[in-house]
Symmetry: C3
Amino acid sequence: SAAAVEPKPPVEISGSPGNGVTVKVGDVFSFNARSRIQLRYQINVPPADDQGERDFQQIVNIGTARLWFSGHVYRPELTYMIQLAIAGRDYRDGATSPIFDAYIDWKIHRDFHVRAGQFFVPFDRLRTVREFALQMADRPVPVGELTLDRDAGITLYSENFLGKESPVAWRLSAFGGGGTNLTTSREPGALLVGRLELRPLGKIDDDSEGDLERRRKPAVALGGAFAANYNTNRLRSTTGATFLGGTTDYLHAAADLVFKWRGFALQGEYLWKRADVDRIESTDEDGNPRTEYTRSGQGTVFQASYVFDPPIEIVARFSRLYAFGGTDPKLVSEVQSRGQEVGVGLNYYFNKHKMKLQADWIARMPHDFDFEKANHAAHLQLDAMF
Amino acid sequence: SAAAVEPKPPVEISGSPGNGVTVKVGDVFSFNARSRIQLRYQINVPPADDQGERDFQQIVNIGTARLWFSGHVYRPELTYMIQLAIAGRDYRDGATSPIFDAYIDWKIHRDFHVRAGQFFVPFDRLRTVREFALQMADRPVPVGELTLDRDAGITLYSENFLGKESPVAWRLSAFGGGGTNLTTSREPGALLVGRLELRPLGKIDDDSEGDLERRRKPAVALGGAFAANYNTNRLRSTTGATFLGGTTDYLHAAADLVFKWRGFALQGEYLWKRADVDRIESTDEDGNPRTEYTRSGQGTVFQASYVFDPPIEIVARFSRLYAFGGTDPKLVSEVQSRGQEVGVGLNYYFNKHKMKLQADWIARMPHDFDFEKANHAAHLQLDAMF
Amino acid sequence: SAAAVEPKPPVEISGSPGNGVTVKVGDVFSFNARSRIQLRYQINVPPADDQGERDFQQIVNIGTARLWFSGHVYRPELTYMIQLAIAGRDYRDGATSPIFDAYIDWKIHRDFHVRAGQFFVPFDRLRTVREFALQMADRPVPVGELTLDRDAGITLYSENFLGKESPVAWRLSAFGGGGTNLTTSREPGALLVGRLELRPLGKIDDDSEGDLERRRKPAVALGGAFAANYNTNRLRSTTGATFLGGTTDYLHAAADLVFKWRGFALQGEYLWKRADVDRIESTDEDGNPRTEYTRSGQGTVFQASYVFDPPIEIVARFSRLYAFGGTDPKLVSEVQSRGQEVGVGLNYYFNKHKMKLQADWIARMPHDFDFEKANHAAHLQLDAMF
């Protein structure tokens, strides 16, 4: 009703490939709709069995599909985002809700922003790289095991603390700790996260993989984070199966680096996770003892790439995951059989990450280069945003 | 093709916070897209057990998220609405479809409108208050048990019968009676509903809780409804578990009142539901006898609020649910342990119901004020429409 | 960034009933959002049992609801399409993803187009008629059993081969063969499909049923297709239950005809499907032998209609399904009891297929006209696009 007496704000409509359509009503409102699909061919080749045979496995599907509805309300600094992930493979851990992101973000002041809702836990760099801006089809193994994915809660942060050109960014967060799209309650708890970032050489798009701009001046981002997830009932802290017989506390740490220069890009990351207890003992409905294990370990990831002009990119990854003594025997066994990851990829960027063709091959093996024992996966992907 | 020879109708684009973006093409077409998210923190505190301990339970999630696609087609009086509810908690009774509303509505004449599709059964006021316009985090217990939620069917109605300023509204409906998003058939049946409304002091936004306008002149809405749901196989008439061994008939009645004046608002409602049979006897696959109970009872709700200027609101609720003799022993037990509800809330309205911060505390206990035996729930919510 | 230096392309906004809203930004981008809902009343009447009683079954629901997000990117010839189907009944075979279509289509040259993603397998005409443009509530029985539905893959095609007015269209496809929205991998395989179409009398909307235009000149479309689905683990080739104990190869053939003139329309189709093996023998988790049957058979469909002016249409369907010797005993039994289909319908088109009221009655019976043994289904539908 206040708007009725003010002059009507001007309406602007725009749209472009990869950025969707935007309606902007002055400073008081905007709406953007965007979408993305990924067509994916994947073939898995396990090690040969005793008869020398391999059980090849294939899947052809829409690897992911996304819808974004976003914009600002009341003032340009107050933004909203709803991201839906709607391909079959996007519904994880039995989810029926397609919501990945649902948050509002208020840039109150240069030194103090706040975001509330469901979104990426700002913990490690490699997990918070935007999904559409990845160089390889699957995230690294240590990230899948040790990261903190999405959750519902609140983050206070600044991208440029104490100065517009400041190299310092900080993020302090409190989340529910149980992950996304919860429908059942549990013992109270919280996930507390602190992260500090340094960009000493100026701006860098470290939320997007590769140096597709082939920048003339080197750019670097350094980050470190700690997190404590109290009383979680999820196997991997905020993801995975739900414990039936109790909860645990998880401590997390991360250190990461991104460097880009003249088409070359390097990402490195160290991740560490330790549960308060290795096993949760309880009694099931029939009165029998039940043991559930937690998962503690650490890992490192290195990923390097070079993009030519025209934009053909080669990328390589090396990662290792380690299990701590006494942790989930399943994790120990996964590390023993597939704890080292070696991958290479070849990408063609029609329009940077907004339209690209990707091929890669990723091998997961024991902690040496015994390719005889490796599980191989090869992917061919077409990824397009609209 | 007819449109091709007529002059092109003018295109208008508009948008504002809470109202989404609208494209209007003269009288022949419009399209509106809107969204809403709710970030929710909930803590539940049950009564102490024999050792004096309480099993606190917490959930942090997106309490609900909505997408609306609506507009008019062919003429302004013929409107359409698709409302999707996509948060984890929105998928009830095992639903996979996100559709809450999907209907067309034709205002043929002042005295005769028709709506067809899936939408709120126009039965009682408190259930048909729009979800985003609620003052407290959960609907009252008697409403959850005794109302008629959404269904697929047709409603004939007039908001102002026999005169533009007429205080009389009527609604006659026929629904399938089985609730929303059905995929399996059952014995034929129907839900028939009649509702009469009176607004003797003129227009009132009784589909929205509270007197956020702090109106100078008092406004009141009175309503009464009867319904008969023949051959339903749903436990609570149109919601809840599906009977395996048969169907029942449910009779329903409702009377309700909304009053608003100078920031004060009062809602009162009486609900009554009786099943034709108290128990459905059948034989299961193994030849064993199976008994399924129906749920008959009644209840009352009172909710009062006052909103200050600036828009801080206090709200209080009192409700009681009663089970009829012979009905589902589970309902009897629920009524005995949690049949009375006492709640208070505190809301801050940034932009009325379109952006608000809500805190409340609701206690459910036996039919006296024995707070020792109460189940407590406290909520903190941020609710925003875009 | 290239766009930044070029002059801004003009933005056009349009919208009309059934066609949604479109934002077009010159040749480089467009976005269209459209929706559709169908309110459906269905009653099923099986044959009388020994006591002469019939177990009537009813369902009232949103039969389907669709959302389309489509447009072009970079150039008008490069289009994208995301179609979501979100009513309860749209989630088949345990799906949680609402994606029906997700593809990009590039009309590189008059003689050579390419489509990649998830979409209708271009195999037989009756299945690839667009869902909103059907004359009867259910697709014919032989189509449900013998068609190739949707899958993820790539199609090379031309609608007018070797000339703008050429009557020849061809389509060569390679799909994963496992159907839509897959999340689990299997033995490698592929679905290869070739289809040839002839439209000797010029353009015809054979992807839309009926002759709603009441065209003055006759139009005809002829088609034939072969397909081989290697190593599929789906019961009906690309749909149905997933085999637990192995895979099979399916060979498919189709021949179809569409004719339209002066309000009269005729569709005829022959479908043939044969599995490489009739039964897949394996061993279950407990070491017991497990037999899974494949489904081989053939069928024919004829559907004829006449539309009056005003647009009231009558439609009739006759179809027969045959099971091959040795195939799944369930298929044999379905054919014996319901292998012949007779149906009639009455439609009123408010705005062609974009707003219509449909009534039909379909009887399925043994291979003679023994209506005593027929399963009857009657439908009443309101179908509207926005």
